[in-house]
Symmetry: C2
Subunit: 238 residues, 2 copies
Amino acid sequence: MRNKYSAIYHDIADKIVHRIYPVGSYLPSETQLSQLYGTSRETIRKALSELLINGFIQKIRGKGSIVLNLQRFNFPVSGITSYKELNRSLNMHSKTEVLCIEDRHVPVEKFDYQTTEALPATYVARLRKIDQDPIVLDRDYILKSVVPHISHAVAADSLYDYFENKLGLTISYATKTITVEHPSVEEKKWLALNEYEDVVVIRSRTYLEDTTLFQFTESIHRPDKFNFVDFARRQKIS
Amino acid sequence: MRNKYSAIYHDIADKIVHRIYPVGSYLPSETQLSQLYGTSRETIRKALSELLINGFIQKIRGKGSIVLNLQRFNFPVSGITSYKELNRSLNMHSKTEVLCIEDRHVPVEKFDYQTTEALPATYVARLRKIDQDPIVLDRDYILKSVVPHISHAVAADSLYDYFENKLGLTISYATKTITVEHPSVEEKKWLALNEYEDVVVIRSRTYLEDTTLFQFTESIHRPDKFNFVDFARRQKIS
DNA sequence: TAGTGGTCTAGACCACGAT
DNA sequence: TCGTGGTCTAGACCACTAT
């Protein structure tokens, strides 16, 4: 929020959410906005391009920037968002149950990660419930080389909050894959699955700002509760 | 390619792909690059931020831009990419079989689209096969108000190619949802599914540059063949 | 013709990392 | 201290849309 352009981004996003700029209307022009906020046009453009990327607006050359009808929920798949943040922002009434914390090596084959060395990690298994229904089984492997120890209290609250606000780590990007698989006996049990039901598995590797790999995550979703919403822009393959 | 910054983007991306800038190495600094390409630093920065978004590099303040180990395939889910483009870029040996072309109204409830009016469209059902195996069943509804007619030849080749290069439409963005569902009898038949197997369904609404909605698509994926790869950057919910 | 967004420039100052 | 990327400016020219 300390940058001009992100302050402007949040201000405009807020006005779109609160219908001060209604869906289908045009924002003030870039030159008008630069006068409004007392800044240069390039700075306004930086804010607008963030709004564009996040699906708030569509820019039309020669006409202006039009407000889109967005109903994105940004489920965890589409970005890197912690479960706690999601819970808060969507007003879900969910609970997290910590099933297990112990030291384990990362099962690298599962994550399609090629290495010859063993990766010591803290293994955390957690079950996410909404209204008593089990929805997601999360299994995290956090590398010991980056985070030596994780307490039960931290796992019950939020790993990301701990990493970012207590340890000062900056989480930057992740690669993830989504597949449909047959559940293990254990998964069947925790997620209360019927016979023959498949599960959706999201596996990701998460990296810090300095490109250090520090976390492997496996999220097992109940098929009937899985719903991933995305906003995408066209980009030709070249 | 006619802009400086996208020319520079492609040039650097190419050099990364061909290991002229190897994984783990630093790119020349922004000032060096601006001298190299004979341009201003802001233009270089625009090219670099594209590389950042697409997962080619990671910028580290005070140090430089480091080349990432990317193995993204960008399956259709993560962006808006036509099947033909994918096929070409991944060297898959796939075939498309046109099952049906006819006039239908869009089943708007399925797409969670609220409207009271009927939407006349051309319905196109196509089956995608790789090595004789049916992988995806695509059902498209293309609004008559934007594209009055679609021929069998076009459907067999590429709708996107036709829209963009023949009709001059500019496809801009889409909203999509991914769910797991029980297949219909028809879907079971076309995708040669075993008893009890679920399918992955991707439903999207696609828009033009001027925010005109013009296409609804339903893609039914065989669960064992579904694999979605993504690259995501951290963005806190605020 | 006037207004819009798209590109590009040359320069400035700052925050951060390495030395 | 020096070099890196991050932010910001004031201005320029272009392509497109509307009238």
